[in-house]
């Protein structure tokens, strides 16, 4: 549980990029699918809660980066998300930004003697 909250703290800042990146790899996804995908690929290290995911999805949709379509499945509406053209570009730039940021963080976190080697 402790582990989970700390990961959530980092996830909050990177969630947009993660969602955009995942959608760039798939045609369309729905909310639960995204959480499952994240869980599977990180081995459960990062668990997205619905409380964090859905507001972000709605926000991206409002910004014009995502398209939505609602399909009725098993007696309930399922909302699928896909990237718009602008969403694709944003996904690419954001992914690049995050990668550079992670590299920088890695440099900061590494012991000094190792970093100079």
């Amino acid at each position: 549980m402790e582990n989970n909250t700390t990961s959530n703290e980092y996830v909050r800042g990177t969630l947009k990029t993660i969602v955009l990146n995942l959608l760039a790899e798939h045609d369309r996804m729905y909310g639960y699918e995204i959480t499952q995908e994240v869980k599977d690929r990180t081995g459960g290290a990062i668990a997205l809660t619905f409380g964090a995911l859905y507001p972000v999805l709605h926000k991206l949709e409002q910004e014009g980066l995502l398209l939505t379509e609602s399909v009725e499945v098993d007696g309930r509406l399922r909302k699928y998300y896909s990237l718009t053209h602008r969403g694709n570009e944003t996904a690419r730039t954001k992914t690049n930004d995050l990668e550079r940021f992670i590299d920088a963080v890695r440099l900061l976190l590494a012991p000094k003697n190792l970093a100079t080697e």
Partner: protein, 341 residues
Amino acid sequence: MKRLQENRIDQISKYLQANKLDPELLPEILDHLACEAEESLWDGKPFEQVYHNMVKTADAQTLLNLSVDHQNLLAMEKSLNDIVFENRNKSYGAYDLRKGYGQTVQRAVVMGVAFFLLLVMFPKLYAELVPDLKSDAIAYEVSVTPIDIKMEEPPAAPPAKEEPAPVQKAVKSLTPEVLPDEKVMIEELPPVVEDLQNAQPSTETVDGVENLDVIAPPVENAPAAKADVAGVAPKKEETFTYVEQSPQYAGGNEAMAAFLRKNLKYPRPATQAGVQGRVFVQFTVGSDGKIENATAVKGIGFGCDEEAVRVVKMMKDWMPGKQAGVPVRVRFTLPIAFQLD
């Protein structure tokens, strides 16, 4: 894969609604939780336990936070209008008006300023487009060319066509002259009585109209006709009513008064009737001073009118009236007073 029954889904939906979840989020959260629940059911857990776990994860506080987070994230983009018109009829028109208000005001300001500037600058613009001849001139010299105004001459009255005065039939009848015998021309014998029955004696034999003597010649033509029987009709002159210098009796008004006193006789009928008053005699004083056309235009009757006309006709020549120094014919009205002693 096990699926949730409709009633189970309804149960979850009601739970979410009871916790006042944002309606925009509700279907997705419902789907999400249902998927989780199905996963748990797949693991062989009973629904009651699954539902219990679900309520534990998605407790009231979590759902409230979710709604608030969602609102806050989206509200950054929302304008005041979206908040004011939330849950209201946006298609009514007021929403559109409010939404376009900024643009409308901007356009109105631009147009107003442009119009005002145009109004203010118009004189300058006009002066710019229509340049003056001299920009530093204070006054302009205006040259005036004299215009020769010619009085339009009144159209000459068409000359009155005058029929040649009918000439009376005449037979040559000269006064016998006493001449020596050798000079006597026997051809010119005095006219016989038969010839003179239908003709007037004249200096020449003219083959004219017979019996014309019945027509009395007009008064003004009388002297002319006397002067020249077969002559041309006298040139008609313009007759003035008012002239610069009125005609005058030769000798002045006193001489005229004396003349009238001397010649005027009070007619007997007028005396008997005791009539007195003034007779207005109108006549024309010719450019040569002769009196013509004397008539009584307003009289008192009883022979006074005729008497006045008679005396006026007796008058000798007047001094003609003058217009621009040239003697002209003037119509003149003379009042003659008849007064009993």
